[in-house]
């Protein structure tokens, strides 16, 4: 089961995403932004970082990259795509997901272990979660404030397209506490927090059981692998 991870100039978390895929039982395939050959992968992760130095707007230039154009084409045919942090910004700039991401409400870069609620467990990347399950994964961003027009927000709420909501603390002023959303079909998911940083005991967030034992992020990758195997 091959899952591609695109590296743009300025991407930071591609190696961690590849490692998460490996730990979940998949085969990570490195993909390069300037190459429109996606190597026949079964799913794609757009990882976090600062593609093209966040020039123009976060994700705006990456949205025009040859590899992204191919992702947009194949996503329309059902290819599972996960955008994490900067990858989420690329997805909204590509119009694969609606809305936009602006500078955090208090203007600070926020780095913390963040509690989320899984609102939609019927997407390609969330099927192994329970509905309303609360999970803990790291969040680290400066421009993670989700905004959208009233009509878009209403549509997302009515169509159950809010995949994750911030619980207890809304770290960045996101409207409706939105941490992540999905497209109508459920194959494209974007979120600001980082599941790939909570996949192996010893390196994840602290939990009541033990320090750094949080591995809630692993289920994102296991979900998509299960879906690909079944299809």
């Amino acid at each position: 089961m091959k899952i591609g991870v695109i590296t743009y100039p300025g991407t930071l978390d591609d190696r961690d995403a590849q490692r998460a895929i490996r730990l979940a039982g998949g085969t990570p395939v490195p993909l390069w932004h300037d190459d429109d050959d996606l190597k026949k992968v079964d799913a794609v992760v757009l990882p976090g970082g600062f593609s093209y130095g966040d020039y123009l707007r976060c994700g705006a230039i990456a949205a025009k990259a040859p590899a992204t154009k191919e992702v947009i084409r194949l996503a329309a045919k059902g290819l599972p795509v996960l955008g994490i942090c900067n990858g989420f910004q690329v997805l909204v700039e590509s119009h694969l997901l609606p809305g936009g991401l602006i500078r955090n409400e208090k203007q600070h870069f926020i780095c913390r272990d963040q509690k989320l609620r899984v609102e939609n467990n019927e997407t390609a990347w969330t099927s192994l979660f329970e509905k309303d399950q609360e999970i803990l994964i790291p969040l680290k961003n400066g421009e993670g404030g989700y905004i959208a027009t009233d009509d878009t927000l209403k549509m997302l709420e009515q169509e159950n397209r809010i995949a994750f909501r911030y619980v207890e603390t809304n770290p960045n002023g996101s409207m409706n506490d939105i941490a992540g959303i999905t497209n109508e079909r459920g194959n494209v998911v974007g979120l600001m927090p980082h599941p790939e940083h909570a996949v192996e005991a010893g390196f994840g967030p602290d939990t009541p059981t033990a320090m750094r034992s949080g591995i809630d992020g692993l289920l994102f990758f296991e979900s998509v692998l299960k879906m690909v195997v079944n299809s």
Binding site: L56, R57, A60, K64, V92, E93, G99, G100, I102, R103, E105, Q107, I147, A148, T149
Partner: protein, 82 residues
């Protein structure tokens, strides 16, 4: 050198942290008459030849679809400058 100037501003109802910080600094300098500061972008597209109406059309299209994001920004002007 012929160029097309694209001016982009954050939407009115959106918080503009840069503008707010600059306004605070101006107030500290005693410029109390300035009620607000908002900061946008000026983008120059340089051409090696005369600019045609089609070029302007293309620039308007790029301004709307790539140079700005209509969720958070407005294109205020796309103008030709010789």
């Amino acid at each position: 050198m012929p160029k097309i100037i694209v001016e982009i501003m954050p939407k009115q109802d959106l918080l503009d942290p840069q503008g707010k910080a600059v306004a605070n600094s101006l107030h500290r300098e005693g410029k109390k008459e300035i009620t607000a500061v908002r900061i946008g972008k000026r983008i120059e597209l340089h051409f090696d030849r005369e600019i045609t109406d089609q070029d302007l059309e293309m620039a308007r299209d790029q301004a709307a679809n790539f140079l700005s994001n209509d969720v958070i920004e407005d294109v205020v002007a796309v103008t030709k400058e010789d």
